[in-house]
């Protein structure tokens, strides 16, 4: 892309005028198209390949029942969960990185996904060991335990950072402390567990889309339907927050409210995503960085990050199911696909700032 496409253009439509940057429109559009294509491809591929024509027929309700079962009950939920998880993680990563003005500030580093891991590993490990805590956690089930862990970590992050407002720097420092405590708890639970439980827990903390059903997708869909529009609505405020707290206050932003809303939205998005799929690492860290390099703005774009996250997770899942001899959890593939891409962008990139 040349420099002319990266700069903003003034657009005037009758009484309405605004700035329009073509790349920040083109990138989400292209990404959306890619997402649809990858999802369609993913629907047809697998142990039981189904042609494009049959896929389309089944989607409009004309296919035969066995194909309908495979497509609508086995593959579609998995793809939808993957896309939603990717959306949530990409969005949350962009929110955190913009808010903390730090490209390394992702929910993985700030302890939220680790909190979910503690909940899930405790549910897996302690349920086998008996005792009241084990019975309680086992009864809740792994997804609910993970959700509780993530929300607990998120509220701790918010509460402990709060001092008449949320300072991005303090958020990051409190976050790494929470991360290291939660990581230590997870590791400790793993060393205490029976090795079969530990192996099962290890698969969970890698992040997997195996055997996901519509029951996993619906809560995620409902939450994102609320969180995504709200997050996009904060986009303007986020842009102002970038100039620093004093400038933002001077420009009339109600700082504590705006900060709380941004962090809360990010925490909720991460928590529901992690409860559905386990901590699919790296999406929240890498996707906003890829998105900002594609759109060429001054900060990670929210919508493009969300869509790119969805593409990365769905694509990784497709690769995990079809390209590899042994089916690996999707959390491994997101890193294997995403990391080289970010590295390549770094090697040829022109950008030197966040």
């Amino acid at each position: 892309m040349s420099a002319t496409t990266a700069t903003a253009q003034a657009v005037r439509l009758g009484p309405v005028s605004g700035r329009l940057r073509w790349r920040s429109v083109l990138v989400p559009l292209t990404t959306g198209v890619v997402l649809v294509l990858v999802s369609a491809l993913s629907l047809g591929r697998g142990d039981f390949p189904i042609g494009v024509g049959d896929v389309l027929r089944t989607l409009v309700g004309l296919g035969d029942p066995s194909q309908a079962f495979v497509l609508l009950e086995l593959r579609a939920p998995r793809i939808v969960v993957g896309a939603l998880v990717g959306t949530a993680l990409g969005l949350a990563g962009a929110l955190f990185q913009t808010f903390a003005r730090n490209p390394l500030a992702s929910p993985d580093v700030l302890g939220i996904t680790q909190g979910a891991s503690v909940g899930a590993v405790a549910a897996i490990v302690l349920a086998g060991g008996g005792g009241p805590a084990g019975a309680l956690l086992g009864g809740l089930g792994v997804p609910v335990a993970a959700l509780a862990g993530a929300l607990l970590a998120g509220s701790l992050l918010l509460a402990l950072t709060w001092r008449s407002g949320i300072d991005g720097y303090r958020l990051v420092l409190v976050g790494i402390a929470l991360w290291s405590a939660a990581a230590a708890l997870t590791d400790w639970l793993l060393t205490r567990a029976d090795i079969t439980d530990a192996a099962a827990a290890y698969v969970w903390i890698t992040g997997s889309l195996n055997a996901r059903t519509w029951d996993h997708a619906l809560p995620l869909l409902g939450t994102l339907a609320v969180v995504l529009p709200l997050a996009l609505a904060t986009s303007r405020v986020l842009g102002v927050l970038q100039f620093g707290d004093d400038t933002a206050r001077g420009l009339g932003v109600r700082l504590p409210l705006a900060q709380t809303v941004v962090v809360l939205l990010a925490v909720v998005a991460v928590a529901v995503a992690v409860a559905a799929s386990g901590p699919v690492t790296f999406v929240a860290l890498v996707v906003p960085q890829i998105a900002v390099r594609l759109t060429g703005g001054s900060r990670p774009p929210l919508l493009a990050s969300a869509l790119l996250g969805a593409v990365l997770v769905v694509g990784a899942d497709l690769a995990a199911r079809t390209a590899l001899p042994q089916a690996l959890p999707v959390g491994i593939l997101t890193a294997v696909l995403g990391a080289p891409y970010l590295l390549w962008l770094l090697v040829r990139g022109r950008r030197r700032t966040t």
Binding site: V109, I176, A177, T206, P329, A335
Partner: protein, 348 residues
């Protein structure tokens, strides 16, 4: 990161900077000595300081206490001092060079490279003891950082702190993905790996301390030599260049020191993230941004933290032990959060 938060000068803290630094340094030295003595005396079998002294003064003494002190406790304490110092200094260097409060020394691919090498050693070669992991972990750590440097400096802008940090994060994620791919289907390897990855001083003899000591010594020397340059660099690269500082050699020396220190520490004890992250933030509260004070103080605090955690781990779960890495994070995290909240942390 540029959030310079200057703490308001309250009357209690109007003490001259030099006095404050000397007091802090003195306190850290005392704490390190106390922690080392406790580490020798406390354990499953408590040994009085008198017996410790007799065991040290008379090498021919062969009582049970003397054998334990000389054969187990002293090597473990020395290793704790070495590794803790290395991690604290590596953390201060890393945060100074990346100017990022999340600048964990493992970020340069050290921890991820070491983890992958250890997993390969366990699963392919059947290595199963901490002493056996040392060389594999060290080689993996060095290979990981070389890759991060190569990629981080390949871009048109050369190696900036940001590209290095991002390259490190991306490459670490890639290497961890390989680690997980190897572990997901292999419960036997996971069974050994899960005890390495928590980070512990237990079960490492004097031989491990001797193996890593030269690397740590060279790393500390390079770090100390790097401090004046680091002070200039923290004024911003342009100012530093204007003052006659050559940027790239200074960065290379500093990051090489991080690699040696953190690689050796990880090889000896497994990954212990907390020390390197936290020690510099804590001491920066009284040393200020001057790296000539920050680096030795962070090293001392690192040693204090690791030894204290190790001693607590021995006492907490008698007759078993809690690994130092776990104690450190679980007890250290609340303290650190309290510190972050109480005084306004000094920005980088």
């Amino acid at each position: 990161m540029t959030v310079p938060v200057v703490a308001p000068a309250s009357p209690a803290r109007r003490m001259p900077v030099r006095t404050r630094r000397l007091l802090g340094l003195g306190l850290l030295v005392v704490l390190a000595v106390v922690a080392a003595l406790a580490s020798i005396a406390v354990g499953t079998r408590s040994i009085g300081l008198g017996d410790v002294w007799r065991a040290l003064a008379d090498p021919s003494l062969a009582t049970d206490d003397a054998v334990i002190v000389r054969g187990l406790r002293i090597p473990r304490t020395v290793l704790g001092l070495l590794v803790g110092t290395a991690l604290g200094i590596a953390g201060a260097l890393m945060q100074g060079h990346t100017r990022n409060p999340l600048g964990d020394p493992g970020l340069l691919g050290v921890t991820a490279g070491a983890s992958l090498a250890v997993v390969l050693a366990i699963s392919l070669l059947g290595v199963g003891t901490p002493a056996g992991y040392v060389w594999f972990a060290l080689a993996g750590a060095l290979a990981g950082t070389v890759l991060v440097y190569a990629i981080g400096s390949a871009g048109p802008g050369g190696a900036t702190p940001l590209t290095l940090a991002l390259a490190g994060a991306a490459l670490s994620a890639l290497l961890y993905a390989l680690v997980r791919a190897l572990l997901v289907g292999d419960a036997q390897t996971l069974d050994s790996f899960r005890f390495w990855v928590v980070g512990s001083l237990a079960g490492r003899g004097a031989d491990v301390a001797w193996q890593v000591a030269p690397f740590i010594a060279v790393g500390i020397a390079l770090a100390v030599a790097n401090t004046p340059a680091l002070n200039l660099l923290s004024l911003g690269e342009d100012v530093a260049r204007g003052l006659g500082q050559r940027i790239w050699p200074a960065r290379a020396v500093g990051l090489f020191a991080v690699t040696l220190l953190c690689g050796a520490a990880t090889a000896a004890c497994g990954p212990i993230a907390f020390v390197g992250l936290v020690a510099p933030h804590v001491v920066r509260a009284f040393t200020g941004p001057d790296h000539r004070w920050l680096i030795p103080c962070a090293g001392l605090l690192g040693a204090v933290l690791l030894l204290t955690a190790d001693v607590l781990g021995r006492v907490a779960a008698r007759p078993g032990e809690l690994q130092a890495g776990i104690v450190l994070a679980l007890i250290g995290a609340p303290f650190f959060i309290a510190l972050v909240r109480r005084r306004r942390t000094v920005g980088l």
